[in-house]
């Protein structure tokens, strides 16, 4: 399963590499660092502080910037509201940074501040979330993995866990979360495949990425659908509360109150957060990409753009040490790597 996904993604990234057209200068690692006159200043603004996911991205950015001799720092709002990042962006423009890396909380509320920053020569790189429909307001985007195929890969992961049969529900974040909605759309598309005809999506509920709300929704699903076979939660807050809900109710596969084969929980979550549930057999497998890798690739994009060693243009490609070549796809989108699947056998290899 994991191999199949990796292969698929290598094929996808491989295709982009083949289409590569050399940028004006050779964007090798060393030349990027050497060309910088005075250290490049990179800031990263996560959706909100305190979210462990973004701590991984920060670690990767920090490592990459250090290797490239760039200055790196991070700052951000406490709450992931649509406009909460605006004052932070304005502050950084005032400070005179060279690159703003940001995981935007809105795909359109930030257009104006990004335009202001860019007229002052600041590069804007969206990380993890893009300005869907407003791509012209940033220079490049870095995705941790190919979001176009993520929904389908989630359905395949779920299918493999429930033997491609049964009713399931999705526990998402907010009703207007652009990423989750895009993946869910991909999931619905994938379900049309004849392979999945015996899997039925019965409900989509939203926990708003808040623990209490997510927990209430997960418990509500168990009540509404006594024959539910699985909860698919493509969000780290949701999957943890879904796991806690099936654990407390004892309805996980093999649990004391499980009906039939029990309720499977899967989706997207970090290994540290879900390690105990996987070791306790409450969760069998869960997917995610590597946030540190995503940050590391972002650092190379950010510094490369700031030093003009990389030109953001569809078809261009550049080297990232240990990753090989990465290219700009449609809308200047860079994909960091394939998703990872964590199970009992491999989870101890990961720490984020």
């Amino acid at each position: 399963m994991f191999r199949k996904l990796t292969l698929l993604l290598f094929l996808v990234t491989g295709t982009t590499s083949c289409q590569k057209r050399e940028a004006a200068s050779n964007p090798g690692t060393t030349s990027v660092a050497a060309a910088a006159s005075g250290p490049v200043r990179v800031v990263y603004i996560p959706k909100n502080t305190g979210n462990p996911y973004f701590n991984g991205v920060v670690a990767g950015l920090e490592k990459g910037c250090k290797e490239l001799g760039a200055e790196f720092f991070t700052t951000g709002p406490a709450n992931p509201d649509a406009t909460s990042q605006i004052p932070f962006i304005k502050d950084q423009v005032q400070r005179g940074v060279n690159v703003i890396c940001i995981s935007p909380n809105s795909s359109d509320a930030l257009n104006q501040v990004f335009d202001d920053a860019r007229t002052r020569g600041i590069k804007v790189v969206t990380v993890n979330t893009d300005l869907v429909g407003n791509e012209s307001h940033r220079d490049a985007a870095v995705y941790p993995c190919d979001f176009d195929t993520l929904g389908a890969s989630q359905i395949e992961l779920l299918g493999s866990l429930i033997h491609y049969e049964g009713r399931f529900a999705i526990l998402s974040s907010t009703t207007d979360a652009p990423d989750q909605n895009y993946w869910i759309q991909g999931m619905k598309e994938a379900l049309k495949n004849s392979k999945y005809t015996r899997m039925e999506l019965v409900d989509i509920v939203y926990g708003d990425d808040k623990p209490q709300k997510s927990r209430t929704e997960a418990e509500g699903l168990l009540t509404k659908y006594p024959d539910l076979r699985a909860i698919l939660a493509p969000t780290s807050v949701g999957i943890e509360q879904a796991a806690k809900a099936v654990e407390a109710a004892g309805v996980y596969p093999g649990g004391a109150n499980a009906r039939g084969r029990g309720v499977v929980v899967t989706g997207l979550g970090t290994p540290n957060q879900l390690r105990r549930y996987i070791k306790d057999n409450i969760i069998t497998a869960v997917a995610l990409w590597s946030p540190p890798d995503e940050g590391y690739v972002s650092a190379y994009v950010a510094v490369g753009l700031a030093t003009d060693k990389i030109t953001a243009q569809t078809g261009n490609s550049f080297d990232v040490p240990g990753f090989g070549r990465r290219g700009f796809g449609k809308n200047n989108l860079v994909i960091a790597g394939p998703p990872l699947i964590f199970t009992k056998d491999n989870i101890d290899q990961y720490n984020f």
Binding site: G50, P52, A78, R215, T216, K244, A248
Partner: protein, 324 residues
């Protein structure tokens, strides 16, 4: 003396009736509502609310209000999480004592401002609502404490109970103890009766020689204490302690529960049983809306409407019966 033993009073009957009505309507539309799973879900939803509402109730009995409860809960919960993460040796009960002590200290700051600094309660606690929330971000450096940083035993409080893995886990037992303690305190101690007297008529209470300032100070300490305990229970139930999420907006739910539970917004009257009923009502509404697939936005609207209905009813009761 007979009154002391009466658990439910006339003013709580409508809350009880409303609760029965909501259960009946929900069960009619969605028969699966009447299952052990839903009962358990509601039972696990309310302990946090009960311990905070007990303190809030005592504050409101003195005609005050404490809007900083969510932030106190957040700060105490975060401190407990950090302590357990960085010094696991203190153990879960040590952490519980720490959370309660810190909550009481934060409440004492409110109490000093209000009772001795003569700052209006709404202003003082609005100030500390912001200040304490800011401190949550500062002490945590904006980083959440994850479940894997916490001892397993803490999480088990929300699953296991004194009778094994039953419908009554430890967090529910703690809430019952908090409610029982408050009940005994209010009914059988001098200070407990002073709390009612102050709310009923502050001037008369002072003339009767009741130490108004000291009692006022005390209720805010107790409110902080309950919020601190709630912070620990939150960590047990949800595992993740996120600086922005923990306790955020909880003051609205707590004040709703107290008002809906029949505590007069003008102080002086209300019972523990009524407030527990109020908590049960809000927990049931939250679960019912979810089970009925009603959009999230309606939850806030419903809370607001329920508070309004309760306050209007309170006023109506006041003009009708209190004169008698």
């Amino acid at each position: 003396m007979n009154n002391r033993w009466r658990l439910v009073e006339v003013r709580e009957l409508p809350t009880l009736a409303l609760w029965v009505l909501i259960c009946a309507v929900t069960a009619l539309v969605q028969p699966k509502f009447l299952t052990a799973g839903v009962f358990r879900s509601i039972l696990l939803w309310i302990p946090l609310l009960v311990v905070v509402a007990m303190g809030e109730m005592m504050v409101m009995l003195t005609r005050g209000v404490d809007v900083s409860v969510g932030s106190m809960m957040g700060l105490a919960g975060m401190a407990v999480g950090i302590a357990l993460r960085d010094h696991p040796g203190i153990g879960v009960y040590g952490a519980m004592v720490l959370g309660i002590a810190l909550g009481a200290t934060l409440g004492a700051v409110n109490g000093l401002l209000i009772a001795y600094g003569n700052v209006p309660a709404i202003v003082a606690t609005l100030g500390t609502l912001g200040a304490y929330r800011g401190l949550v971000h500062i002490v945590s450096r904006g980083v959440q404490v994850d479940e894997y940083n916490l001892p397993r035993e803490l999480g088990r409080w929300s699953i296991d109970g004194p009778f094994g893995q039953t419908l009554v886990p430890w967090v529910v037992v703690f809430a019952i103890l908090a409610a029982a303690g408050t009940l005994l305190f209010l009914r059988f101690t001098r200070v407990g009766r002073d709390i009612y007297a102050i709310g009923g008529n502050p001037e008369a209470a002072w003339l009767r020689g009741i130490p108004v300032r000291r009692v006022t100070f005390l209720v805010y300490v107790l409110s902080g204490l309950g919020s601190g305990l709630a912070g620990v229970l939150y960590a047990s139930r949800f595992g993740t302690i996120n600086p922005a999420a923990i306790g955020s907006g909880f003051e609205l739910i707590a004040i709703s529960a107290v008002v809906v539970g029949g505590v007069s917004v003008f102080g002086g009257s209300g019972t523990v049983a009524g407030v527990v009923l109020g908590c049960l009502l809000l927990g049931t509404i939250s679960t019912a809306l979810t089970v009925l697939n009603i959009a999230d936005a309606w939850q806030g609207t419903t809370y607001g409407l329920v508070i309004l209905v309760a306050v209007i009813f309170d006023h109506w009761m006041g003009t009708r019966f209190r004169k008698a």
